[in-house]
Assembly symmetry: C2
Homo-oligomer: 130 residues x 2
């Protein structure tokens, strides 16, 4: 199967698929004409990557997950640990963004937002309150 079809089936851009190959995440066969030739197993792997990336795992973490996935003797604890770490990171990021949101919401609310030049947002950024 050519890369265009693989792209459609995995919901990944062809460029990204080539990139994943370049960094060693998969090794598709080659047809006689030099075109990449994807098997169903390759598509499975690409979909796996697509889902894992969508869940916020980095490419390196995806590599680990794929390695665990391919290891029939893996312990589920290893996978759980990876996912739990990622969950932690996501929670931290959420907390950080919520703090930003709070500050920005306050600023937006106190700015009258008309044609006049005085602006509490710029005041805050310029350190007027500090």
């Amino acid at each position: 199967m050519n890369i265009g079809t693989a792209a459609r089936r995995s919901a990944l851009p062809a460029k990204t698929i080539r990139y994943y190959e370049e960094i060693g995440l998969l090794r598709p066969a080659r047809a006689d004409n030099g075109y990449r030739d994807y098997s169903d197993a390759d598509i499975h792997r690409l979909k796996f990557l697509q889902r894992a990336r969508g869940l916020g795992f980095s490419v390196e973490e995806c590599r680990q997950l794929l390695s665990l996935y391919g290891d029939s003797h893996r312990a589920s604890a290893d996978v759980k640990a990876l996912a739990a770490t990622k969950l932690d990171q996501i929670e931290h990021k959420i907390a950080e963004l919520q703090s930003l949101k709070k500050t920005l919401t306050h600023l937006v609310r106190t700015c009258h937002g008309d044609a006049r030049p005085d602006c509490p947002i710029l005041d805050e950024l310029s350190g007027a309150s500090a």
Copy 2:
């Protein structure tokens, strides 16, 4: 004032300050020895940048904010619009992360996490449920 002092006062790494200069966010004077020489106004500008970046504004948005800051005829509505857009983006990002969190939490909870190889997380990623 040398860059080291400017770095301490603005809470930005010296490398970052040089980078900001390179992309045209400020133009410090130069002393006879070739060292950058920061004025109090420069420090003010750097602190402004430090705060705005900390609030999640991109460097290009910071450039706009600085331009609005320096324009005494600006309308506060312009600044408010920038901030409101940023707020929207932050809210979207939070929603996205919360959705990720939900999925990952579920996966982590259903994975027994012991030495056995069966793992609902990998099952999900491999598309067992799809």
